[in-house]
């Protein structure tokens, strides 16, 4: 009987369908409520290049060679090499400015760096009402590196 078959199939699919939606309803939602709970970053995600600090000496790894400055396509990095009291150039930056409003997060500065002084951070909450606030100096970039490390450790990543 085609009619009974159709009725049976209808009833069966109704029961199965409603069981599926009820089961989904009782599960915890997959939504991450962003400002309160933060999703872990994927490995290799990029947000802003930051300056690494040597753990032992507490100084920057950067030797102010200028390769990142040259490799930067939008020219957002600006380095002034330190000059000592004796008038000779020293292997650390006097100023290291990064204009995040220009940075396109291409990773080329990090690839160019021969001293492992730059790294992509996992910090994303950097928005600001003033463009001037997006120009980071070397102390701010080192600070961002520490924040980013804390984010990664909290996310369970091995450093």
């Amino acid at each position: 009987m085609a009619l009974w078959e159709r009725l049976w199939n209808t009833g069966k699919s109704m029961v199965v369908g409603h069981a599926i939606t009820l089961r989904e309803m009782l599960h915890k939602p997959v939504t991450v409520c962003y400002p309160e709970e933060k999703p872990p970053f994927e490995h290799g995600s990029r947000s802003v290049p930051v300056l690494k600090v040597n753990e032992e000496s507490g100084l920057l790894n950067c030797v102010s060679c200028g390769l990142c400055e040259r490799s930067c396509p939008p020219s957002c990095i600006e380095i002034v090499q330190a000059v000592g009291a004796d008038g000779k150039k020293k292997p650390w930056p006097e100023t290291f400015q990064l204009d995040l409003s220009h940075c396109m997060v291409c990773n080329l500065c990090i690839e160019a760096c021969p001293f492992d002084a730059l790294e992509m951070a996992d910090v994303v909450e950097l928005s600001s009402y003033q463009v001037q606030d997006l120009i980071f100096d070397k102390d701010q970039l080192a600070e961002l590196w520490k924040t980013s490390k804390a984010v990664r450790v909290a996310g369970g990543e091995q450093i």
Binding site: M14, G17, H18, I20, T21, L22, E24, M25, H27, P29, V30, T31, C33
Partner: protein, 319 residues
């Protein structure tokens, strides 16, 4: 004077309940649909679970511009939301909320309910015709065909209960169920299934929301409405959702009958469980086609409900 005062108080009570009901149900529907889709639904506005979302919505809707489309038939167009809201308010008169709590115990309660709810169609058709918009008109035509087709099985499915009790007052139907300690859903299971499917179709809700069908008709008959007029349609829809569930509870689930708790608590509890089932169905099933809808109404629900009436009558005659 006392009668007048009582009438005014009853009217205020109905309007308050209608507003509160829409307030809660809109929030509940968004919450339930969210959880079915593994989301949270409203979360931020007021309180722990976004309970004041509807209040924010109402403030937004009231503050919108009162826009009338250029080619609209002004009288039909502006009156339509009110006309669809009036039957939603009137049906509360006959609902038996508790053992003695009923606003007006009419001796033709069930007929009153059925006739008043069919007025909803007039509001919908006024909106569709008055909008001077092809989508609105198609939506209204569909709503007309659908509401007319499903009114018949809806009423026929309740007749089994009426035959068994011999009364048309809703209070009397509940009293009969209390007397026999048996809810009519068990002997009248076919009647209940037909009633529930037909009432979902009467409410224009998914899977029978052809009159709105946002993927085909934008919003059907209320395409051109916005702001407070749209709110009136939404309030009527959610009020009808509650009242049809309440009618189902009255006819098939013993109304206010239940142990320990007071009657009106049982009545509201059972009604909101049926409302929840309606929301659950809405977020599970896809929309049917218009020919499938007509097939279901005329070729399945109508003969089944007629057979149910005949079977009940024969059983009561030979018993």
């Amino acid at each position: 004077m006392n009668i007048l005062l009582a009438a005014i108080l009853k009217a205020i009570a109905i309007v308050l309940f209608l507003g509160l009901n829409a307030f809660v149900l809109i929030w509940a529907e968004r919450k339930i649909s969210g959880y079915i889709q593994r989301r949270y639904g409203p979360l931020r506005v007021g309180g722990p679970a976004g309970i004041l979302q509807s209040a924010a919505d109402i403030v937004k809707l009231i503050s919108k511009e009162d826009f009338v489309p250029g080619g609209a038939d002004w009288w039909l167009w502006t009156l339509a939301p009110a006309v669809s809201l009036v039957p939603a308010v009137l049906v509360y008169l006959v609902l038996p909320i508790g053992r003695t709590v009923v606003l007006q115990n009419l001796n033709i309660g069930l007929v009153f309910f059925a006739s008043v709810t069919s007025f909803t169609l007039i509001g919908i058709f006024m909106a569709g015709w008055g909008s001077n918009n092809k989508y609105a008109l198609v939506g209204a035509m569909r709503a007309g065909a659908q509401l007319f087709s499903y009114e018949i099985p809806l009423i026929l499915s309740t007749i089994g209960v009426v035959i068994a009790t011999g009364t048309l007052t809703l209070q009397g139907i509940v009293a009969a169920q209390v007397k026999h300690h048996e809810w009519f859903v068990f002997p009248q299971i076919i009647g209940f299934v037909v009633f529930y499917i037909a009432s979902l179709a009467e409410l224009n809700r998914t899977p029978f929301d052809l009159a709105e069908a946002e993927s085909e008709l934008i919003a059907g008959y209320f395409t051109e409405y916005s702001g407070i007029r749209w709110t009136m349609f939404a309030m009527a829809e959610y009020s009808n959702l509650f009242t049809t569930a309440a009618l189902g509870v009255t006819l098939f689930f013993g109304g206010w009958h239940g142990p320990w708790l007071p009657g009106w608590v049982w009545f509201l509890l059972k009604s909101y469980i049926l409302v929840f089932v309606g929301i659950w169905i809405r977020w599970t099933l896809p929309r049917v086609r218009i020919d499938q809808l007509m097939d279901l109404g005329w070729k399945f629900l109508f003969p089944v409900s007629v057979a149910n009436v005949l079977g009940t009558a024969l059983y009561l005659m030979v018993r």
